[in-house]
Amino acid sequence: METLTKIIQNYYYMIAILLFIIGMHTMLTHSNLIKKVIAMNIMDASVFLLFVAIGYTHGGQAPIIEEGKDILFVNPLPGALMLTGIVVAVSITAYALSLVVKIYRYYGTVDYDEICLIRSQE
């Protein structure tokens, strides 16, 4: 029961981990290259969500400090970091998709199993 309450209280962490596992599983098991790229993004996004969730404070405001006011604010650092993370993920995605385009041009398919078949016949 105690474990269950803990899980319910921290459900946003659980969702992030669940997304991570979905992403990783799809990335490693699906043979469609586009799906692999999408799964890579799901995986990255799950970690971004986790980071942002760490920085969240319940009832917190944007961290703009006014003089004389003592406000409760959310931790801005994870948000700022994840902005960098998103940029990195975008560039990886762009590169991966451009590779998929090239692979399609050379093999005529985006299915990894078919590519393996073509390569084994060469």
Binding site: M27, V47, P78, T84, I103
Partner: protein, 492 residues
Amino acid sequence: MPLEHHYPALIIAILFGFAFLSPVIYKYTRKASVPVFITALSLTIFMALAMLFRIYADGPFTYHMGGWAPPWGVEFRIDLLRVFMLLIILGISSWIIVYAVKDLEHELKHNLIGWYYSLYALLVGSMAGMAMTNDFFNLFVLMEICAISACAIISIKEDRACLEASFKYLILSAMGTGCFLLGVAMLYMVTGHLNFAFVSEALPQAFELYPNNLFSASALFIVAFGTKAALFPLHVWLPDAHASAPSPSSAMLSGLVIKIYAFSLFVIFYQVFPRDLLDSLPLNQIILWLSVLGIMFGSIFAMVQVDLKKMLAYSSIGQIGYVFLGFGLDHNMAIIGGLYHILVHAIMKSMLFMTAGVIIYSTGVRRIKDLNGVGHVLPLTMVAFTIGSASMIGIPGTGGLISKWYLALGALETGQPFFVVIILASSLLNAIYYMPIIVNAFMQQDEFQIKAKPVPRSMTATLVVGMVAVIFFGVVSRPIIVLLEQAIQFLL
């Protein structure tokens, strides 16, 4: 502040700056781009040496990016260990680029060469940053730059094998960085810091309160760095990627890129994580046994290969096992052996890939079977191959012996003679697949019918430098060992 205080940032700024300029320089003056690159690399080596002398004079120091002190700013920490790695990276990469000049003209389309230098500079810069950084998030960003540029110097060749190999590499390394970032999130959750020094200060207390976070973080780090450094069961991307890439890229990837991740794992496990964590979890045992499997299976797979570069790639899986073996044994001698192997293997494997590149450049032969008698056509190249293989096997007088010697000493000191047997068995296996190539290349006369193109002087010169370096680090190992002994003082 005087200029010499900014050397850590300048090293990266120079390399990344060159990465942006390289295509432009190449477009307008083709001849100038390589001399400019070599000048830039020499400048960075000069700076790294200056930092080394500064450490000897004043001890380790830190550099704050943009003047923001941690925990807010990004911090670089410069100590002997980091400078050792930095000098290996800069030295080896400037050595490879001299070789690359002629090889690339042969392997790439001419309009791409400027872009290749730009990717190469990004790769070197990101690895230099990874060696120096003292911040988890900075490490993540540099890892991603390193991953993209490492994949790109494979796929730039643009043939079927390269594209497929680099996509596989990209996906698995994206999985690696994903796991790394999740691990960092676990640490950030319990410590609230990203700086290595602050995290390591906060971890002992966090370990008592939230041990599960640290367990999962360390598991994620092993997967992350294991994938990127090709630790045994996670090595699947390596053979295709390293074998199909252009030869200078293969030399770079096998020589340096897999090592820097092993080095980062070492820094995180031994400098950041508390000693209690390493003692309460069998982390060292996991690394140790995976490395043993890697050493044995890497060699066994290498024996059955028909393609020369693929054999060298599988051999890298075995050799990175030695580096992890040193870290896993967790004894000063073994760690020195592992770190020394980073240096020695970087030299010898780069040299072996270069000899493979020279053979392909000059005769177009890739299959091991067709190499019979090649020693009479390309004598110097095959002598270089012989010395490189001798060092792989660990014959006295070559660098490979020293690292194996220290690894074996470490294994004996910790009372695990089994690992000495593994080291000896693996040396034997190395001999089994390197020796026939050498023997057939020199003994079988008149077999080799293909007319060889003359080897350019810059390629021969790099091979000679490599041979001298392998023997030099086998004979004069004392200064480096003393440096490493001082570098790992923090473990005592």
